[in-house]
């Protein structure tokens, strides 16, 4: 077999890689959305004035959540959730939600800290000025603090999203199923094909790496576009 033929055969496997990239992206996207929602909720609880016992209680819960989730490895959390689901449901024909929830819960803790520190880094004088003209805490947050905090957190949020996209590669530790058929994420497919054709293992790994890189570069581009847009209404 000539080199061209060999390369041609490898090229024919591209569909498998793209499909797996798709699963990786679905998991990452779902986890980002879930993580962002959890992050916003936790950040709001952490930042709200502690003037009533219910908020104080939720604040304690939020601190506990953030401590535990940030203090344990993502892979361990994923395996714990995956195994618990196995125990409860025995088998699921589609289990994409398991990694989405695991990564979402994980990312939520990081997002919460990012959002909290973003809001905290807005000059406290802005809140005072808002309150001094009679606006409520909520209105000042909504109209003054959050718009300024967004500008501050965009780079860090994108950093977290990029990390999350790459972190989804630990999904290859669990068995993914879609409609009862086993599927693989991007790293998973490279490993599976590598087992079948050990001579090409490195090539498959490079292919996966290139695809991750492409996605991250695309995300970086989006980040720059958003940052430029936010800068526009400054001057």
């Amino acid at each position: 077999m000539s080199l061209i033929e060999k390369l041609g055969r490898l090229w024919n496997l591209r569909g498998l890689f793209f499909e797996s990239l798709g699963y990786s992206l679905i998991i990452a996207f779902g986890a980002v959305v879930l993580g962002f929602i959890i992050g916003v909720l936790l950040a709001v609880v952490r930042i709200a004035p502690k003037n009533n016992p219910i908020i104080k209680f939720f604040d304690k819960i939020a601190i506990l959540y953030i401590t535990v989730i940030r203090g344990t490895p993502t892979l361990v959390q994923l395996l714990i959730l995956y195994s618990s689901v196995l125990v409860v449901f025995k088998s699921m024909s589609t289990n994409l939600l398991v990694p989405i929830i695991a990564f979402g819960i994980n990312s939520g803790a990081y997002m919460a800290e990012i959002i909290r520190s973003g809001i905290n880094s807005v000059d406290p004088g802005q809140m005072e000025a808002g309150r001094s003209v009679g606006l409520s805490w909520v209105t000042t947050m909504r109209k003054i603090i959050i718009p300024q905090a967004i500008k501050i957190v965009v780079p860090t949020i994108f950093n977290e999203i990029i990390i999350l996209v790459k972190e989804t590669s630990v999904v290859s530790y669990i068995v993914l199923r879609v409609n009862g058929i086993q599927k693989w994420d991007l790293l998973g497919i490279a490993e599976k094909l590598g087992l079948a054709v050990p001579a090409c293992y490195l090539i498959f790994l490079f292919a996966a790496a290139l695809l991750y890189l492409a996605v991250v570069m695309l995300l970086t581009l989006i980040q720059h576009l958003i940052e430029r847009r936010l800068k526009k209404n400054e001057r």
């Binding site: 000059d123 309150r131 001094s132 409520s136 109209k143 209404n233």
Partner: protein, 311 residues
């Protein structure tokens, strides 16, 4: 009822262990111009910030237009005390001990006992809790309502950085539904014209000089049609060449009949504009009086010392 616009009674403020205000009382009448002077750390800014409750006093009361802004003391509300479980229990006991006492007598004795011995606990039944909650809520809303009438100007301007100059002026009146957007913008443009900055309406604060920022901060407060203006060292963060324009504007505001409270290091300005000057040191008002009196014949040795250093 009296003609004091702001009344401060026995105000204490601690930041942790640091005692910043140690029992300050003062009244500010409608239309009065009051300057507060004193060395840094004397508590003058803290007192000003307590007036609109940007700082919550540790003890003491702040009244604005005869409305109490500081957190409410349940012991002052007999109706609330009567809802408490402690009250029910004690009045039973009292009734048993004094079978022929009238209801008024029981009431008076029990409330006096509760107040004197600080008997109210955290949990006093749902009716009590609901009454307290309503009280706190009304008090809480009153703070926001009163702040609308008290314009505040900060040392560091604190313009809303994410909004244009025009939006800075219109945000609060429109959000609080005091004016329509068109009305608010008309008023804002009028105010900007008066300070000669109408061409900056669409600019963002980051493009303005310090003096321009502070003048816009002043008209932002004026856009709410306040009853009183509080100035917290409005020229301390400015380059020297910009102090004049800001002081001129404050003088114009004062001359137009606005009630003004100003914390300042500009002694000449305090003397020129104020009707009354308060000298603060170590968290108390040491001396107060008409500017001529206080600046020319200070009585307290601390005042004499301070004035000899700054004049």
């Amino acid at each position: 009822m009296n003609d004091n616009y702001i009344e401060i009674k026995g105000l204490y403020k601690n930041f942790g262990k640091l005692k910043v205000l140690k029992g300050v009382s003062c009244n500010i009448k409608k239309g009065e111009k009051v300057a507060i002077i004193g060395a840094s750390g004397s508590g003058k800014s803290t007192m000003l910030r307590c007036m609109n409750l940007l700082e919550t006093p540790t003890y003491g009361e702040v009244w604005v237009e005869n409305k109490l802004l500081t957190p409410i003391d349940p012991y002052l509300h007999f109706d609330v005390i009567r809802l408490s479980k402690t009250y029910a229990k004690l009045s039973e006991v009292y009734k048993a001990e004094h079978p022929d006492a009238s209801t008024e007598e029981i009431d008076a004795a029990v409330i006096a006992d509760i107040k004197k011995n600080d008997l109210l606990k955290n949990y006093e039944g749902t009716a009590y809790r609901a009454a307290i909650k309503t009280l706190y809520k009304e008090n809480f809303q009153q703070v926001d309502l009163s702040r609308r009438d008290m314009g505040m100007v900060f040392q560091h301007f604190n313009l809303f950085n994410n909004l244009t100059v025009l939006e800075n002026l219109t945000l609060a009146p429109v959000e609080l539904k005091l004016k329509t957007k068109a009305e608010a913008e008309e008023k804002a443009m009028d105010l900007l014209k008066r300070i000669g900055l109408e061409d900056k309406a669409k600019a963002y604060p980051s493009t303005l000089s310090g003096g321009q920022k502070q003048r816009i901060a002043i008209v932002r407060a004026l856009a709410m049609d306040p009853q009183v203006m509080l100035f917290d060292e409005p020229t301390s963060a400015l380059d020297p060449e910009m102090v004049g324009e800001v002081l001129d504007l404050i003088k114009k505001v004062a001359d137009a009949g606005m009630t003004v409270v100003i914390v300042t290091h500009e002694m000449g300005f305090a003397r020129e504009v104020a009707d009354r000057v308060l000298f603060m040191a170590d968290g108390v008002i040491l001396e107060e009086g008409a500017p001529e009196e206080l600046f020319n014949h200070p009585k307290n040795p601390r005042t004499q010392d301070f004035l000899s250093k700054v004049l």
